[in-house]
Amino acid sequence: MSNSFIQSLVADHKAVRRLNKRDPLILMGALFLGAIAIVAATLGLRDDVVDGHPAEIVLLRGGVLLSLGLSSLIAVIAFSRPSVGRHSDGWIWALGVAALFPAITLLAAVTGQFPAWVLTAPSGPVCLIVSLALAIVMGAALTFWARRGAPTRPVLQAWLIGLSSGAFATFSYSLHCDSSTISYAGIWYTGAIVLASCSGRLLLPRLLRW
């Protein structure tokens, strides 16, 4: 290869702004707060949340969703920089904990303790639609940021963007959600996160390749 190629790259060279880890955190933080504000303004928040004394189930599912969203966001940020032998696998543990909700739901179904009303609850489809709509906005913003980087595992990155935006979006909706049963979260919250993740997997890899 002649060094004229390198010379042409040098001629095109100019200062660049480094990929900043704080940018996606600030971006997602702002969108997350915006999502909560939209839910509060359009659907309203749970009474116990408004009173500042949320029920234990709200704290539990909220904590799980936040840890899932944050750990997968951290992985998205880490995987946007090329590296070898670097593992950011906190999201796997968070996903394992979040899987307890559908696992308990499945156990309830097997033992005949599953509350059937959960499947026909009118709020179920609303949960899915609102969570997915908010996840699309967050996922699009995160994808836009990730494209500035150099993700070397675009398929995994796509899953993680869907997972993170889905978890944050579902948390936002959960502050409105009247239900306080684990089975409800196991069906509808899990459904929203799975749909967001699968959408990310199907749509995003081609946008993340470079």
Binding site: R148, R153, V155
Partner: protein, 207 residues
Amino acid sequence: MTEPVTGYRKLTNNRLANILKPQPDKQHSANATMKYDDQSLARLMALSQAGDGRAHEAVLVACQGWLRGFYARKIGADHAEELVQETLLAVHNKRASYDPDRPFIPWLAAIARYRWVDRLRQIYRQKSDIHAHEVEAIDPESSFFARFSLDRLLDHLTDGQRVAITLVKIDGLTITAASEQSGQSVSLVKMNIHRGMRRLSSLVEED
């Protein structure tokens, strides 16, 4: 017209001059090749990100040498040159993704591996030997690529070492079965595996 060298610019030029002092490659002094250590490359890349053209050129030249060796071990020198050029372009376009607080070579190696996998994906698409969803599922960590790289690495071993490692470590035979199949004694199979694995480890570390 020459720009006056003052203040930060002068400081940068002095630092650059120090960094740009190439280090002779002790292992291959006969070839008189020059190498930069990882820290120097990291500092050069930081200067490049700040807009220093000389540092950028030095980084690209250093990367060119490293990439030639990297690809030659994987796909052979005759096919490596085009990939080297593609990867240099990627290094140029994605230089904002480098964090100067982290080692440089792993960053470069990850980009090189990504471009290599992307090239393989293109080749398979052209051949249409596998379906689109299988192409999408290609993972750089998959056993296929592990085996592809391993075949290249095995070329660096003696025949005895290659046969012993292939039979025991890849095909899963027992030492006794490998001994019967290869005609090597049991102790020779063990020794070939031991020495071959040690050689493979050093080759992987060179990567």
